[in-house]
Point group: C2
Chain length 445, copies 2
């Protein structure tokens, strides 16, 4: 949605009371644009707009908005409206919003579904977020391999329109076992007398519902796919994955990792009540408080040294801080390479060697610079030397932990991105204070 | 590429000398998979594999790899090989790798191009990265609006195959002005006697070469597009944008912002020489060094206070650290909302009020907790009080700056993500030390 639309809608909403033109304006907007608009409005205005949206578009829009905003919209609807909205959705869409719907609403909707749809909903709900099964839809068109393209064309022509993102038809046998795929582009340029079997592709990518969505996204990216068949363990076609589901997934993942970096657990409604925001953020702050507290106790050990040479207090955050920055660079690079599947058994040692090399170079340069500055400010050569040496050692520690932490997490099968930054900073803070103050205690006090 | 492939290739590469089977193994891999493989191999092994790749796939693979790896591959090729590789590419692909090719190679390749291809290359190179013009390709199929679908079908059948991602044909008039689009799915289900004009869509999305790629990606995501026509100022068709280019763009952007967060300026070759890594990372460390140095000087002002109450040295990093974490949460959320176009003039004040509310709540809770801990460890009530108050004030500072910094950057038209984190941390570090030590000097010393 562009900013003009938002501005126009706001003008039509002045004083909280929607003007009559607003209704017409909303009618002309695509459901996805209304969703974007609702995201950008504070709660009161958001609900004013939501009430103006035609009931038959409610379902579609609920699928499009973020989890946080969906909650605020659902809170404002009564069960009857929710059932009506949910009934306009297909099984895969319903599965997306089911976790946010009241139990009673879901029960009522399920009863109205056909047996096939109910089975699809059950299947879609049975896969965890992040599995292909949770992203697939059921809008595939299937044909048999022993018919002519002429017959396929006639069959397609009987449909009013093909489902979105139909770039290929799936060829199955009597038992729904996938035989191949027939791209529309191929159907169009081929001789109509030929049989599907002669024209179909048999080597195309296929997915399983339990495949990781991340890997599927990689396949879509590498092989430039628009849709791919999803088959079960007996190679029976159960659904398809389309590039639009993949794009949504990639966007969501990228947002999540961006937010996780700052310890925001999920997408926060921009205009959430203070208490909701607090709940989303407190855990991260608490975790950081623990590590800060540990670092503080490390400093506490050396209070006597600080008392006798107070310059140490002013210089110690520099050693700790640069170590943290440098360690985070190492970890960020490695976590990314891991996500791309670029690091393999024997390479860890090679990587560690390289990172140690970078750390030595950094340590030589920044250590010398900071040592010289410490000497300039405090006129104490030994202090400068300790500063330089501490800098070097903390950078080496940062490089080691920057490789080691993602390595351990990858070994344990945990997502190496989550929390790596807080762990590395904890090491370089406490370690940096310990190294610097320890060296100072040995050589200066 | 999965890990098994990497493992197999490594086994076939043992002792640096490629075994004969490796050649056959590579033959069977998709160009994109070979690219992924090259990314994951250390330089020596990478070049060994690269030498085994058939020359006619060189160009394709160079387009797929990251900038850093492409450089290492190009360095290992002589000009004749480069010209041969580049000549297998289309204009839009050539434009992607042109910045990495030696001047002389480009000149030679340009001479071999047709006038049309040369014009396309010029056009593609004239748009900045991040513009639709730099992402578009020229593989569109055009038809006139006054022919029958029968004629269109016959025309298509004369082609051997349609270009990748052809989900729709573009309808143009005699002057190449775009009239509408004809989706293949629509072509297939429609009566062949009808004219293109009667069946085509006239309201579909179209893009301009100077449009921001980010906005185009948003449109692809919202409207679930597979391809979109790109037109110039006179509505003449100049190219098309496909979803695969959009997916690549989104992935690249997300990687970039992930790397930028840690101050890595560009994708670093995992096995880059130490000096290259240093060059990619030093600027960020230098910037952080400056802010750490300023914070150190702030502490320096209060050295007398620290000398007389050394507990201050141990407690001050906690105040600064939690402020930084909290400020980064605020900024991360706002930067994301800005990128989605969700924040609008009047909302800034509302946002600031909300963030101040969250800060007050955080301050009350963590301030009390830390004040109590300071009292426990040092048996000094006043110290506990100063700790709690400093915590509260620094969190309010963090909230204010967390809103203010992205606001200023958005006003100035700069990308608000870049460097926000280092700025906010600088404020909360120096500010935190100043607040805590200043209060301590007033009330305790």
């Amino acid at each position: 949605m562009n900013e003009d639309t938002l501005q126009q809608v706001q003008d039509l909403l002045e004083d909280g009371k929607p003007k009559p033109e607003l209704h017409a304006r909303l009618e002309r907007l695509h459901a996805a644009d209304i969703a974007a608009l609702l995201e950008a409005l504070p709660l009161e205005e958001r609900l004013a707009v939501w009430n103006l949206v035609k009931a038959d578009r409610d379902g579609e829009i609920l699928v499009e908005v973020s989890d946080a905003v969906r909650e605020s919209l659902i809170d404002a609807m009564d069960p009857r409206e929710l059932v009506a909205a949910a009934e306009t959705l297909e099984a895969d869409e319903l599965a997306d919003i089911a976790p946010d719907l009241p139990e009673s609403v879901i029960e009522e909707v399920v009863q109205s579904l056909s047996a096939e749809e109910r089975e699809r909903l059950r299947a879609a709900l049975s896969f965890p977020e992040g599995a292909v099964g949770a992203l697939m839809d059921f809008d595939h068109v299937v044909v048999r391999d022993d018919v002519t393209l002429e017959a396929v064309t006639r069959y397609l022509r009987r449909m009013d329109e093909l489902p979105d993102h139909t770039d290929q038809l799936f060829v199955v046998d009597r038992d729904q076992v996938l035989q191949g795929t027939l791209p529309l582009a191929r159907l169009i340029v081929s001789d109509l007398d030929r049989q599907v079997r002669q024209v179909m592709l048999t080597e195309s990518v296929k997915l399983y519902p339990q495949d990781r969505a991340e890997d599927a996204a990689g396949a879509f990216e590498r092989y430039d796919l628009i849709s791919a068949p999803v088959v079960d363990g007996s190679e029976r076609l159960v659904g398809r994955l389309t590039v639009n589901a993949v794009v949504d997934y990639i966007r969501e993942k990228s947002a999540e990792s961006q937010l996780a970096e700052a310890g925001l657990r999920e997408e926060e409604d921009l205009f959430a009540p203070v208490l909701d925001s607090f709940k989303n953020r407190w855990a991260w702050l608490a975790l950081n408080l623990v590590t800060a507290f540990i670092a503080s106790r490390v400093i506490g050990i050396f209070e006597d040294s600080i008392a006798s040479l107070v310059a140490l207090a002013a210089l110690m955050p520099i050693v700790a801080g640069i170590g943290g920055n440098s360690g985070n660079q190492t970890t960020t690079m490695i976590v990314r390479a891991l996500a791309l599947g670029q690091i393999h058994g024997g390479y860890w040692r090679k990587l560690l060697r390289k990172e140690m090399g970078v750390a030595l170079l950094n340590g030589a340069i920044w250590g010398t610079l900071l040592g010289a500055m410490a000497y300039m400010f405090y006129g104490n050569v030994a202090l400068g030397g300790v500063m330089a040496l501490a800098m070097m050692l903390n950078l080496l520690l940062a490089a080691t932990m920057g490789v080691f932490i993602p390595w351990v997490r990858a070994r344990l099968g945990r997502d190496p991105a989550v929390g790596s930054s807080v762990l590395i900073t904890a090491c370089t803070d406490s370690g940096g204070f310990f190294i610097f103050l320890g060296l100072a205690t040995l050589f200066l006090v």
